[in-house]
Amino acid sequence: MTALPGGRASSAPLLGDDIEPTIFEMSVEGRHSYQLRTTDVPKAPLEELVPNEHLNHDVIALAQVSERDLVGHFTRLSHRQFAVDLGAYPLGSCTMKYNPKFCDAVAADPGLNSVHPGAPAPLVQGWLELLVDLEEKLCEITGMQAATLQPAAGAAGELTGLLLMRAYHEANNDPRRRVLIPDSAHGTNPASVTLGGYEVTTIPSGANGLVDLAALKAALGPDVAGIMLTNPNTVGLFEEEIEDIASAVHDVGGLLYYDGANLNAILGVVRPGDMGFDIVHMNLHKTFATPHGGGGPGAGPVAVSARLAEFLPGPRATRLSDGSYDWVTPARSIGRVHGWHGNAMVLARALAYIDVHGGDGLTRIAQHAVLNANWLRKRLSATLPAAYDYPCMHECVLTASPIKASYGVRALDVAKRLLEEGFHAPTVYFPLIVDEALMFEPTETESLQTLEALASALERIALLCANEPDVVRNAPQSTPVTRVDEARAARHLVTTEDAAGR
């Protein structure tokens, strides 16, 4: 008997048709849910506690619902939401792999979760040791010397890295002006460069999807602070000339920044530090499987080579010579980049994930991620050709451009129809350099049966494009809502219940 796919949601996975009222629409004056502790604290009147000029004499309307209605409301909302736990989520560049429940359970332990971040160091030795252990393991994984765990997400890591770059050059009395970025880069890269006080110089990709080394060399000069690269890059290909790129950038005194969005592809196989990178950010919510939370939280630690360690944000958890732990701020630190110590619970989950896998397990993750992406790429070659006919890493960029040319159906339509097949859509129209791009990242946690079901679904869609293109153009129909009017949302801006006039 052939196994059925485990990672495919049923064809109508989500509750349909009726809209869910907002919590404010469910509100009835006088209802309530809250219950507070009995404290016996004297109930002084507010007027005695707070001077009149500070008091708000009106209460602010929130909602007034029973606990039963609160549970019903948010549970129904959850049924209108796709998630990794429901089915495969091959959203390229986002590494939507299965998030082990164990890691959530570890972080939920009150011995970690109920600790105040401002407690004196002697009272939080366990947390400090955990952070030091994680830092050391992340440095081994990336081939770097030291790391900050403060940045709360990848983009925060990028900006931190650029400020480290700036601090390094300024310490050498060599302020520089430009940062190079390939045209295939994530949008956060150029946005971070601007906030880092640098100008962006865009490097074109070659026809093979890789950095054009000649164009790169032409753009280099003594005013270049560094380059930001993703490797494998955003089209899922390994930058094979990375050593030449690194020496060219280093030759003009620039630094190499590694965008860790695609680190999953190379775990235990090759390390950014060994490729010549000086600064590396990691997306722990991608590579180390911490849940994405509907868009966050993440964590974006930044690891650096030895020459940049003295500039790292502080304070850093540090092991002292007597074996105890304390907060230490590096000598020429750029300063804090987070209100406390970073997204600590995300950090704890990532450490648990690393510890379960160990060194060999992390390598298997990369191997299986790359295996799945290549299998899918080849399996779909007759349906949706790869943008670059070359072995990919952990994700493959396919193109709907032939389908568009033949039937007038766009990549977006294909993605929308896939939602009705029980899968999340791939990333569409990214990277920008690929026409009608559909970027699939199956991840290592989807089974062969699920990949086959995904491929079959895309074949059915391709057939529909030929025979009944309007079905694809009008998809999805069976989801909680059909396509939404994005132009209206922007034109008639309604971002609160008040603006809706309810």
Binding site: S33, P42, A63, N283, P313, W340, H357, A425, V494, D498
Partner: protein, 457 residues
């Protein structure tokens, strides 16, 4: 070899066959050999979940400042509020926890609508019309606020009260190194910002006037002074506020703020050693084109049914790239959803009740402690739920002694950062900031006062 990989050895072989490869290593044939790790990572071997759980006990046992071992009087943006079972349960639903950014609205109405409700609640609590879908934390939200102000005014000087939490000011300083913004910290006198110290040339260059409400020493400042200054400077008025205060105090909007930022941890998120927390951000409609991060708007689907979608996307980094209003992508959505659930649980009157009880508890605690010999408030100004005391011994010593009695007795000012304009210099090592929430009982407070009296002897 513990892991979460589904493939059997036979399946791996058949998949490799399909690709015409002999081994998994061949998948990496195009990676230069000279770069490859030959011995693998120097990490311990993988361990099963129960084995790792045993080792994690080493960490948890070494943490003494847990809520079960210590009664918490520490605050500074992180507070021990009630988080009921219903909020924990709903906030940990896998559909919210394991989703990604709602790029496909047809299958993301759950998160989108929850964010819409969150935006409504934060807009109301801040007294402003627009709230975004969250930022990382209070400190980084403040950075986005001052960046907005600089973009909006075309000026680069940030006039920041020294009453803003020292960590938040430190974060502003860090990111100002990239943007080139100039930070002017305005000193406190008797716990209040001495705005008259701002020079007329700084005033003219001011892009933002930033005040804290209450400030990090707990003091309630009359924000109309800062508001007037911002009008004279033609700067944006940014209020960094404790969102729980909005249960009873005037909102940022009522004080005339253009932007409100705050730390949303009190809305359903655990102390969590400082993260993940929730950066609250709200502003006037005038500033919407410069809003950082995601925003959810209401619209309709093709069948004219109400639907929600991320909107005004052209501000964001994936479209606008180097001209984006911010580089933020991943935010703290799960904490925002949790905040919506917590605020739904509290409701209109629960929010006011929590804020009132915080103020009552703080006053009662204050009254017990200031009667102790040698202990005095550092300011004569009114406070809400947090206050600062001068202690005869160094505050760190007092905290150490209190810890021995089972109390996390507050935050030592000296641990928050170096001496700055926020207190009189010789009080720096002798100032303790104490926070009280609705969870502190009279019994706990009385015991705390007894321990405090011993600790300062």
């Amino acid at each position: 070899m513990p892991d979460y990989l589904p493939h059997t050895p036979d399946e791996v072989t058949s998949m490799l066959d399909f690709l015409g490869l002999d081994s998994l290593e061949h998948l990496f044939a195009h990676v230069p050999n000279a770069l490859k790790l030959t011995q693998g990572l120097r990490l311990p071997d993988g361990e099963s979940e129960p084995d790792v759980a045993e080792r994690f006990k080493h960490y948890t046992n070494a943490n003494k400042a847990t809520l079960s071992e210590m009664v918490c009087f520490a605050g500074g943006g992180s507070y021990d509020h009630e988080v009921p079972a219903v909020v924990k349960s709903l906030g940990s639903r896998a559909e919210f926890v394991t989703a990604y950014t709602p790029y496909q609205p047809e299958v993301a109405q759950g998160v989108l609508q929850a964010i819409f409700e969150y935006q409504t609640m934060i807009a109301r609590l801040s007294g402003l019309s627009i709230a975004n879908a969250s930022l990382y934390d209070g400190a980084t939200a403040l950075v986005e606020a001052v960046n907005m102000a600089a973009g909006s005014t075309g000026k680069e000087t940030l006039l920041i009260s020294s009453g803003v939490h020292p960590h938040w000011r430190a974060v502003v300083h860090t990111f100002a190194k990239g943007t080139g913004h100039r930070v002017v910290e305005v000193p406190l006198v008797d716990g209040r910002t001495e705005w008259s110290k701002v020079s007329s040339s700084d005033l003219a260059k001011g892009a933002a006037v930033v005040a804290a409400y209450p400030n990090y020493l707990g003091v309630l400042e009359d924000l109309s002074v800062a508001k007037d200054l911002s009008i004279r400077a033609d700067a944006l008025f940014v209020v960094a506020g404790d969102p729980v205060a909005a249960g009873v105090l005037k909102t940022a909007g009522q004080w005339g703020a253009d932007v409100f930022v705050g730390e949303g941890q009190p809305f359903g998120t655990a102390l969590a050693f400082g993260g993940p927390y929730l950066g609250l951000f709200a502003c006037t409609l005038d500033q919407i084109r410069r809003l950082p991060g995601r925003l959810v708007g209401e619209t309709v689907d093709t069948r004219d049914r109400r639907a929600f979608v991320t909107t005004l996307r052209a501000r964001e980094q994936d479209i606008r790239r180097e001209k984006a209003t911010s580089n933020v992508c991943t935010n703290q959505t799960l904490m925002a959803v949790t905040a919506a659930i917590q605020l739904g649980w509290l409701g209109t009157y629960g929010m006011r009740e929590v804020a009132t009880r915080c103020a009552q508890g703080a006053r009662y605690t204050f009254d017990q402690l200031v009667g102790i010999d040698g202990v005095a408030p550092i300011s004569t100004q009114p406070f809400f739920r947090e206050f600062a005391l001068r202690t005869p011994q160094e505050a760190s010593t007092v905290l150490e002694r209190l810890a021995g009695e089972g109390f996390l007795g507050g935050l030592a000012l000296s641990a928050l950062g170096g001496p700055d304009g926020s207190v009189i210099a010789n009080d720096w090592e002798h100032t303790l900031i104490i926070a009280v929430t609705e969870r502190r009982t009279k019994f706990e407070i009385d015991e705390f006062a007894t321990a405090f009296a011993k600790a300062v002897k």
